[in-house]
Point group: C2
Chain length 499, copies 2
């Protein structure tokens, strides 16, 4: 070999770690979710708001970058006037800034919904992205329990509009002040002790009471041999918490029954009593909104964003028996959540401003819908019109245009490959049919239509039913003026095809 | 006054310079544009693609940040593995990276559309933002003129779907190799001289031929007394360019006539002849797609992204007589554009890959639609149900729910203010009607409906027509079971209201 000049330096075609390219049916499914939920939110009187990707770092709050680690948690950079800006990590912080900035001129209470990408500068991993789409609805400026109830009821309707059936999801509701009251009344004042106790309670659904009791006491040795130090709560407080956590029953109590059970568990203190009163107000409003006992439950085991929420907290959970790869039942878990946060706008204005909202991640809801088997009308590729030669371009383009005008997605093959490659192309495109207009067919006023779905079914061995085969012959020659009706019958038949 | 403790430091509620909050009707109008154009693009066989906000800086190309000015042109930051990432400044560079990365598995040619924010780190100013939404459609992997024609024809259909009437916009098409050929044949080889000449030609629609001729020659003194040095082209070349620029006529020639005129103007060289051949192919395809001569014109005066495009170039222009604040006619100008770029994927792969596309800015198209008077069905606020007291909450919520179930956006007032403030709130919300359910009305099975649109019209003095007043009495009491039909008739009447 002789020495050759080095090839020109070319960048590698790759996307940054934690940033995904999304396309085709899964992207269309996510957009459909956002579209349908938006329609519900607008019908409930929530107006759309779109804030910019960047906020000043001091407006974002807890993620204020320092000079050593400017990207800790967020993507931050210094503007040319030296101010630190960061990409939003959620949609609530920008709402608080917007509300504070425009408070005088906003209709109050102010209802808005928003969706769009948020960015978190975290270690990426499988299924963990640094950019994802959130969809939020919030009411700022109302302390009424009806405002919480409305957010909860609307979240239920939004989840159903996205595709979940009634009974496939539940919104669990609690109030973070219940724990404040329990600790207060029990004399637990140390913030570290409170946090350790709350972390223990958060494991209730996984460990059951025995595990939580150990973690509320001295500590717990788990199956892998790791020891977790406990909260060392007084025994009496732990007993109160046991009764408290049991008050939801097995998910078979009405909201009012759960409230009664919480009240009977006792030891709630002043803050807890106030929390119960708020929950009773939410229950009355949910009842007036005719929200079923199955759709929204009270559940005091919910521990959620405790340094953030100031009252009611909500968590939407998928109710489906999904299994892991060893066939064991797995809980899909949370598909969204929210609550009341009365202090966020006050960061700017100094005046406490009541606010409540609900948020979900669009990709996660799309996963939940797939788990629920709700992949309705998976987007199809376009019908592909095959190109045999330049001379009959007019006939090809007329067919494309006729299909499109009938509302059927259609395209002309635009490469320069032969028949076989074009059929492979049509298959990759997920086309339901390929249209062939050879010279003879054009002259005879005919068209050949290849039913690619039938071909796929046969190739996959999905059906060898002879009757079905004769019904879906794979390829047919029809009169040219029957093009649209024939293609439409293929697409309609495919939507009824054995899965 | 006595000394008080200083108030706690609070961040100022403001968004970073060049980033706008968008809400309400204008945001809804922009989303409607994207929605309608997306439907067209999908029907034409273009699949949606969503790439991440960040690309590695070397993948973005010309904006590679250097250590001194890392944010020059783009927003760039260093990842924790020290690699430079930058927010995308358009949707084409990410497409080139994506196509290069996935070339083996993509159906080819690959058609995709995309929309989303792009970011430019430029000096913000009135109407100049550092974040805006683009909407692109591109075909990668086809060198056929049908691919260009398809993009052009689809752009026309997209603009109409967005709301422009036929005749309100035109797509002008040229080919950047025409200029290459002119310069080549005329012996103009100096790149600087070529660039100066092209800048002069780009002013043809503003300065006319006399002004351009001066700039192609020695130079030009403008009205303000500024002297611009000219390109000093040989006189013969300038004469060829004059004939060339005149070949579009006054916008009354068919595409074929313009091609003839360009050919007759002569001096095109080999590159120019090849460009003419490509344009002739595009014209044949446009004809076969039945795209009218008024919708797409050939116009050799187009100078567009010459270091970027490699063949055909497109520019969509709004055709409306808009006037400035002194009443002088103003051209709205370009509302989108594109062309053929065969070298962008090659940056990664080393192999030239033909590509062609069209892009528009969503806010700019929304402005164009406003200029064209196409603000159809401006989004209305929700119907507001007034709250008199807690006791009748059930009646209020039933009314809200009934309206929503009928597809009418409706909400309960959630604040704690009195009647007058609630009416002001309903007005700020742009509500078409306010619903009043007092205790007496509930008992009598009635409801009072205040027609707020009628009130606004009267207040604005839009009409003092007595007949109209009696038809829109402003406030009416009807049977409770006539709530939905009455509200719907108010909304319908408003859509026919004198503007």
């Amino acid at each position: 070999m002789t020495d050759a000049a080095p090839p020109p330096a070319r960048p590698e075609a790759r996307s940054p770690r934690g940033f995904a390219d999304r396309r085709g049916p899964s992207l269309i499914a996510e957009r459909r979710i956002v579209q349908r939920v938006s329609e519900v939110y607008e019908r409930w009187g929530f107006e759309p708001l779109d804030t910019g990707a960047f906020e000043y770092a001091d407006a974002l709050g807890k993620f204020l970058p320092d000079a050593d680690r400017p990207n800790e948690g967020v993507f931050a950079l210094q503007d040319d006037d030296d101010q630190w800006m960061a990409l939003r990590y959620d949609l609530t912080a920008p709402l608080a800034r917007f509300a504070a900035q425009n408070w005088e001129t906003l209709p109050k209470p102010f209802r808005r919904y928003a969706f769009g990408p948020v960015w978190r500068n975290e270690k990426p991993g499988p299924g963990r992205f640094r950019e994802f789409t959130q969809c939020d609805a919030d009411t700022v400026g109302s302390d009424r329990p009806e405002a919480d109830a409305e957010i909860i009821a609307m979240a239920c309707e939004g989840l159903q509009a996205a595709g979940l059936q009634p009974g496939q999801a539940v919104v669990r509701v609690s109030n973070r002040k219940l724990f404040d009251g329990l600790f207060e009344a029990g004399g637990v004042t140390d913030p570290g002790q409170r946090l350790t106790a709350l972390r223990a309670i958060d494991k209730f659904d996984r460990l059951g009471w025995q595990g939580v009791a150990a973690l509320l006491g001295e500590g717990r040795l788990d199956e892998s041999g790791d020891y977790t130090k406990g909260a060392n709560l007084p025994l009496g407080v732990a007993a109160t918490i046991e009764a408290f956590l049991g008050s939801a029953g097995d998910g078979d109590r009405t909201r009012a029954e759960t409230l009664d059970a919480i009240a009977r568990s006792g030891g709630l203190g002043a803050a807890g009593e106030a929390a119960l009163e708020e929950l009773a107000g939410i229950d009355r409003a949910l009842g007036a909104m005719r929200v079923g006992q199955d759709a929204v439950r009270f559940d005091p085991t919910i521990v959620r964003g405790l340094e953030y929420y100031t009252g009611a907290v909500f968590e939407a959970e998928l109710l489906l028996d999904t299994t892991d790869d060893k066939g064991r039942p797995v809980r899909f878990g949370s598909i969204g959540g929210g609550g009341r946060y009365d202090d966020l706008v006050a960061r700017f204005t100094g005046e406490s401003t009541p606010a409540t909202g609900f948020s979900f991640g669009v990709s996660r809801l799309a996963s939940a819908l797939r788990a629920a088997g709700r992949t309705d009308g998976a987007a199809r590729g376009p019908v592909v019109v095959i190109v045999f030669g330049q001379d009959d371009m007019q006939a090809y383009l007329d067919a494309v245009s006729e299909l499109r005008n009938a509302g059927i997605a259609a395209e002309l093959y635009l490469g320069r490959a032969g028949m076989k490659a074009q059929m492979k192309y049509a298959d990759r495109r997920g086309a339901p049919a390929a249209i062939m207009l050879g010279g003879d067919e054009i002259a005879a006023g005919q068209v050949t239509i290849k039913d690619l779905d039938a071909g796929r079914q046969l190739a996959a061995g999905v059906t060898d039913n002879e009757a079905w085969k004769s019904e879906r012959p794979g390829q047919m020659k029809v009169a040219r003026n029957e093009l649209v009706t024939t293609v439409r019958s293929i697409i309609d038949a495919s939507s009824r095809m054995p899965a």
